[in-house]
Amino acid sequence: MKSKPRVAVFDFTGCEGCELNKLNFENHLLDILDHIDIVEWREAMDDQVAEYDIAFVEGSISTPDCVERIFDIRNRTKVLIALGACAVNGGMNAMKNKQSLDTVREIVYGEDKDLFPTLPALPLSSYVTVDYEVHGCPMTQKEFLQLLTSILAGKKPVKPDYAVCVECKLDENECVYGKGMICMGPITRAGCDALCPSFGQYCIGCRGLVPHPNKEAMINILIENGLSIDDAEKRMDLYNSNEKDVVLI
């Protein structure tokens, strides 16, 4: 039998909800452990090791200390996987990037602001090569397991490049726009099985934008449905402050 890949888990600036979601694989945790050795995971265990085959990393990079650690992790691992919105595109943290970082720090720490150095909240990929990404806030278990099984089986992981609207239509959900809600589904990357609209809630855009999004058109949709320009941009920024890709009209 092949030796099991050595897996480590790390967290940066984020809520640790994606990590928790992994501890929530109750039905699958033991199956997963048949295929991998978890060798380092601060949230769950004491051990620390020098090298790993796969590193799962949650959270965005927002302090000089983070930068140092992510380079170190990249050097120790063969495969690096970004888990969740914060690691993939900066997530909600990136909203602060729109303001002067000095102002933000002063609001929070006042005179002591220099004790707590901060950088713009950026995805891991801004600093190191990321091999795979699991989107979402939080990431979904299904996608995480699909990615993991694909990698372990030596196959190509599938990552949706289309919008949440696709999954809503496949699941025959009622469109939440019809209920007066304002939904980010038309421009948000799918993969969650349209979880929020399936539960009667609008899509908040937590999975980042589809590749080559028509942002202008989306802002128009938000405005047509009653948001001010300011609110429309805020809605776009909730998870997408770092997203810059544009569409070919």
Binding site: N21, L23, L30, A44, D46, M95, K98, I107, Q201, K234
Partner: protein, 434 residues
Amino acid sequence: MKQNLDIKVKHLTRVEGHGNIVVNMNSGKLEKAQLEIVEAPRYFEAMLKGRSFHEAAIITSRICGICSLGHQITSLKATENALGLEVSNQTILLRKLLIHGALIQSNILHAYFLAAPDFLNAGSVFPLINTHPDVVVRALRMKRLANDIGDIISGRAVHPITPVPGGFTKIPSEADLIEIKRRLIEEALPDVNATVETMQALAGAIPNFTRETEYISLKNDNDYAMYDGKISSTDTGLYPDSEYLKITNEFIVPHSSSKHAKNNRSSYMVGALARFNNNHDKLLPEAALAAAALGLVAPNYNPYMNTIAQVVEVAHAVYDSINIIDTLLNDGLKNEKPNQSPTKYGTGISVTEVPRGILFHEYSYDRQGRITAANCIIPTGQNLANIDDDMKKLVPEIIDEATEEIIHKLEMLVRAYDPCISCSVHIVDVEFVE
């Protein structure tokens, strides 16, 4: 007697978030014994300010993935108070059920996965899969059921979907509730008994250490207060939620990116043990029996017993969840739409018990329903001063033990509080006033 001791545990494991334990004894004088908080701040100010009331709970839920349901419900209540949104009895019952689910999940995670390895001298739960497979499988089963309560009622246990200001975007079906109840009875009740037995067997590893402090939690006349009530201090009595700032008195210390809190003494304790000390007479009979079996008698001043109090609360939450489901089914589920028509715009405060202790959210809204000011004070922040005080008493008591053993006991102490450093730091920057 040992005169010098220098301990630094960087990035303490098996807790949520990043913290260091630092102890420094020089020529017999304890210069430092403290938990340093080094979590990276996230600047929630930038996220919340100017956001619509629909978004407040979506954003504050992201303060912490571990406590997301607690933040969400507390946030919703504060928003509803600020905007004068009445919610139905059904909404309150469903929320209470969700709070129980989150508590079971969180307490089981802590007791079995984060704390139990300490009792067994293991570095994590993973070696226990081989040595104690039935215990691990049981823990996973209990966690799964608790998470399923969240998944089914709120769409997702982490960062829940359906709870919104004024109610729920989707009501579970009766069949869903009947199935949850069946599993609570068939799976969870035996598992609770087995958990009590397991913890009885492990309790010998709990250090014998006591330090009386002030215990603060919610309290009301009707139940083991989780969803609402008055703020209750064992030292200074009851306060309405509007006076929460008189209790918390937050202050900044140099070694922590999270603020500390104090009321009557230099520190106070919140969480399962505080709730137990305040409300033990409101435990359901089955949970009271579990407490007795585990040797937990109120008042209890041993912070390590917080883990045991968590187990007692799991028993209470399981039995009370069954009662709540019975009430919901008897009343008949109504397909209610959330009440989102504000009757006023102002400031709203809410107080809720979440697994790690008492949680406060306060928001002010302008006439467009946008947030102008917010403040959140979370349990772990309130416990930090108490942890430091415990360490200062504990270190001299165990100073002659081997350094590894001292470190082990200090780590166990911090873990016993089940600290959520993610929350404690991320929340510090939520406080802002226009």
